[in-house]
């Protein structure tokens, strides 16, 4: 197992190098002089020259890159142009809010998605399967910003049940996490269903039935365990998607978070902030995927030998 984990970790290294290269290049890919873009109205020749030296833009690219990686390793992602605070501080300040939202959404998506998938796969009546899958299709096809607005309209404005604004406690988290979870739940339901159906066709299930095991036992003990393996991977993949979806949900529900920070920064052409957010988001996503990979190895020992 140790070797397996090590191998996975080593495989991530080139991706990390690529990610840092890409975020590093971001500043240099912006049309026009990045310093002028960042300084805006303060871009006097003198200021530009001073900042160019301060940012080290007068040095060769590879030196700048190594410097960038070195600073990043020490937790220095530069300072936001807009707020004049260290980018990492800003990100960490809003991160808990995004984490809460994403975690709530993962929970909702998993519970709703997996149960819907199981319901569809085992339904005695085809109509249940059909309706569940129709709902899944709607879930995948509805833009988050539309479902968010519909949820607000229904639960906050018409029924007056739930608050729309950010705040403490569980209540303000319900609508945004449901809106964010909907498409992920739909994808999970789909995967759970097809994975279960596939598993049910396998020989061992037939044998189990032949041996006279009761329905429920077969289902829970054998089938579910095997069928959920691909589902775990998909949950892992959804985490990244949910993080990205938070951009829209945070904006609709006026919640603080990385997503809203990103949109504000883009609007303000705050390049260091955008760079920092991109790097942090990618790191989190890569880490989550790595964890899922390793977890997968634990659940399904066959993986190790591939």
């Amino acid at each position: 197992m140790g070797r397996f984990i090590l191998k996975r970790v080593v495989l991530v290294i080139p991706v990390l190098i690529g990610v840092t290269l890409l975020t590093f290049m971001m500043v240099h890919l912006v049309p026009g002089d990045p310093i002028v873009v960042m300084l805006g109205d303060r871009a006097t020749a003198e200021n530009v020259e001073r900042l160019r030296r301060e940012f080290g833009f007068d040095r060769p690219l590879y030196v700048q890159y190594l410097d960038y990686v070195w600073s990043a390793l020490q937790g220095d992602l530069g300072s936001s142009i807009r707020t004049r605070q260290p980018v990492l501080d800003e990100v960490l300040r809003v991160f808990p809010s995004t984490l809460k939202l994403t975690a709530a959404a993962v929970l909702v998506a998993t519970v709703v998605g997996v149960s819907a998938g199981m319901l569809a796969a085992t339904a005695k009546h085809r109509i249940v399967d059909f309706l569940t899958m129709a709902l899944v299709l709607v879930g995948i096809s509805t833009p988050t910003f539309f479902s968010s607005l519909l949820l607000i309209l229904l639960f906050s404005l018409k029924l007056d049940l739930l608050p729309v604004a950010a705040g403490s406690g569980i209540k303000p988290l319900i609508l945004p996490s449901v809106a964010l979870a909907a498409p992920a739940a739909a994808v999970l339901a789909r995967v759970t269903r097809s994975s279960l159906l596939e598993e049910l066709r396998k020989d061992y299930v037939r044998t189990a039935y032949a041996k006279g095991l009761k329905d429920r036992t077969v289902m829970t003990v054998h089938v579910l365990k095997n069928a959920l393996i691909p589902v775990v991977t998909i949950i892992g993949l959804q985490v990244g998607g949910l993080m990205a979806g938070a951009v829209i949900v945070e904006s609709v529900f006026a919640r603080p978070g990385i997503g809203r920070f990103a949109v504000t920064s883009i609007n303000a052409r705050d390049l260091p902030a955008i760079q920092g957010i991109a790097l942090v988001a990618a790191l989190i996503y890569v880490t989550v995927n790595l964890l899922v990979d390793i977890l997968y190895g634990f659940i399904d020992p066959r993986i190790k030998y591939r």
Binding site: G40, D41, R42, R82, T83, R84, Q85, E90, R93, V94, S97, I152, S156, L157, D160, P163, V164, A165, A166, G167, F253, A254, R255, P256, G257, R260, T264, N267, A268, R269
Partner: protein, 613 residues
């Protein structure tokens, strides 16, 4: 003293750099009469203090409200008896100034008790709470609660001593002396004496601090001296008729410079001042929490009672979406909001909330860049002024909650020229075509053309602003039906301002929130081209001379005349198309008494108390 002064004066002068030389034009020998000390409060009473040095997208998240008739007085509904008062005697010449309503009558005879929480909503998050580094209106609002200035503007609009007990000004108007009250302490317990005040303003002048607005408010300072523990003296190099107004601005709040130095960059999120409420915490994007300062014993002269405020906890909730704020008010999650236009009527109809409508001093227009084509041509600018149906723009942008603007100054600022209503350009397409023809443009078919090319221009607007989004599209549609193609370019506020300052635009949708007529200096003086807010890039010595005199002449009648001439000049030269003045409507939970709308636009809460404790 003179030696010390001259030393610090010299060094300060060199620190101030260009700013000083520019302001030195303001010298008007012998123009300063004996009435200087008297004049200042009068001016202030006429709406002197400013809200925000940066131009704000007026009415942005703020939701102004109906008045159609155009009466300037704010009204307090639900309070019942609250009638708008006429302007006070001391400001007789201040024609259309905002007159704040008297305190709301106590419902059910509740008495003021200490305690409770008041949650008010701001549409924007402050950039920083370092008074020296901000110019944002919202930071100013927070500073009104956690800070004090040497002198304050009262809710009645007069400027009165606050941290200062009294003040004096020399005959030549160059030296201002403030005597501090006894026993003032910062929130961290440090003593706030004359040296601390000096340290605060020295910090603002320090080029390392890169003060955003404060340095400009202080003006052409030669020296700041603590004469003794209680006495602080400001010496100016030239007379400065607006210094008094400016010192009451929230960016001039007295902060603990020592604490600021110790905190470094983190100070902006841990401000230490002297105000009635103490800063407690700031959760990014969510809220700023303040608590009652029990030691507050230096309430300003105009306060209804001595000592600390009644409200225990003051929480500012940050809601970028105005629509969300209304929902939160109705759900009882917050106590005070600016109501989104679309919701005003419905909220009033519920009868459950106190609503207060008023005009926060400010104005919005289409500003031309007169330094480059096509709007360097006065004929084109005049033609544009004749094209629009401005009522339709007002209606779409603000759902009617505002009134038409006729010149650079709105009715809510002292100095407004009533004659501008008749003098302003009227919608007249024939005249517009004549002006176009004078510059060689003719109407062919349904297009305005010259050499086979249709007239085109780009309109720079600010993102995330419903009023601008609606207004600009109506403007675009009106131009299209006249035969002109206008592209709308929308970017965030910061980018727009830097483009506008640099003259990198053709015509823009911009406005200001500022309570003093001195906005004409900020907005039109040639010395403010580039770095300042003379966004039109207009450079006219004739206009500069009028503005310079308006800033230094202590004679109020003469100043009023000058402001009229300035407004006339700007209209004659068609520097902009005046659009509208937005009104604001506050919605409050009816569990508060003793509050007032301050002329600057925030709610004055020092004497307010919660009635359902």
């Amino acid at each position: 003293m003179s030696l010390r002064d001259s030393i610090s004066g010299t060094s300060l002068r060199s620190l101030m750099g260009a700013r000083l030389t520019r302001r030195s034009m303001l010298v008007r020998a012998g123009a300063l009469g004996a009435g200087m000390a008297l004049a200042a409060p009068l001016l202030a009473a006429c709406g002197g203090d400013d809200d925000d040095d940066a131009p704000t997208a007026t009415s942005a998240p703020a939701a102004p409200t109906a008045t159609t008739g155009g009466a300037a007085e704010p009204t307090a509904t639900t309070g019942g008896a609250a009638e708008p008062t006429a302007t006070t005697g001391s400001v007789a010449q201040a024609t259309p100034t905002i007159a704040p309503p008297p305190p709301t009558p106590t419902p059910g005879g509740a008495t003021a008790e200490v305690g409770g929480t008041w949650r008010l909503v701001l549409g924007q998050e402050p950039d920083t709470l370092d008074a020296h580094k901000t110019g944002a209106y919202v930071s100013g609002v927070v500073h009104r609660y956690i800070g004090d200035t040497l002198i304050h503007k009262s809710p009645q609009g007069e400027i009165l001593p606050a941290l200062a007990e009294s003040y004096e000004v020399t005959e030549d108007g160059l030296t201002w002396t403030f005597i501090l009250k006894d026993g003032i302490k910062f929130h961290d317990g440090a003593v706030c004496d004359a040296n601390a005040v000096k340290a605060c303003y020295d910090r603002a002048l320090d080029p390392e601090i890169k003060s955003a607005v404060t340095i400009g408010q202080l003006g052409p300072i030669e020296s700041i001296t603590a004469l003794d523990d209680k006495t602080i003296e400001f010496k100016h190099t030239t007379s400065n008729a607006v210094f008094f107004d400016n010192m009451a601005h929230p960016v001039c709040s007295v902060l603990n410079a020592e604490a600021a130095a110790a905190a470094g960059d983190a100070y902006g999120r841990n401000p230490v001042l002297t105000g009635p409420w103490k800063f407690v915490s700031w959760e990014a994007g969510v809220e700023i929490v303040m608590e009652r300062n029990p030691d507050y014993a230096w309430s300003p002269q105009y306060a209804g009672h001595e000592g600390p405020p009644y409200i225990q906890d003051l929480i500012i909730k940050i809601f970028p979406e105005t629509a969300t704020a209304v929902t939160a008010l109705e759900a009882g999650e917050v106590d005070q909001i600016e109501i989104n236009q679309a919701d005003i009527q419905r909220i009033k109809d519920t009868g459950k909330y106190e609503t207060i409508e008023f005009f926060r001093p400010g104005a919005t227009f289409m500003e031309f860049n007169v330094s480059r084509p096509p709007f360097d041509d006065i004929n084109i600018r005049k033609a544009f002024n004749h094209i629009f149906d401005r009522e339709a723009i007002l209606d779409a942008a603000l759902e009617g909650y505002g009134r038409l603007l006729y010149s650079v100054l709105p009715q809510s600022i002292w100095g407004w020229w009533p004659g501008s209503v008749d003098y302003a350009y009227k919608m007249d397409h024939d005249k517009a075509l004549e002006y176009f023809a004078a510059s060689g443009w003719t109407k062919e078919g349904d297009k305005i053309v010259k050499d086979g090319q249709q007239f085109k221009c780009t309109f720079t607007t600010i993102s995330g602003n419903q009023a601008q989004s609606n207004g600009s599209q109506v403007i675009q549609a009106q131009l299209r039906s006249f035969g002109i193609e206008m592209e709308i370019k929308t970017t965030d506020f910061t980018t727009v301002i830097s483009d506008l300052k640099a003259g990198n635009y053709e015509v823009s949708y911009i406005g200001y929130a500022y309570a003093s007529p001195d906005i004409v200096f900020i907005w039109f003086h040639s010395s403010n081209i580039g770095t300042g807010l003379t966004l039109s890039q207009n450079n006219s010595p004739e206009l500069d001379a009028l503005i310079d005199e308006s800033r230094s002449n202590p004679d109020l009648d003469r100043r009023l005349e000058l402001y009229m001439e300035i407004q006339k000049w700007i209209t004659d030269n068609a520097i902009h198309v005046p659009l509208y003045e937005a009104s604001t409507t506050y919605g409050l939970q009816p569990r508060i008494a003793g509050h007032l709308v301050h002329p600057d636009g925030h709610l004055h809460l020092l004497d307010a108390y919660i009635t359902d404790l």
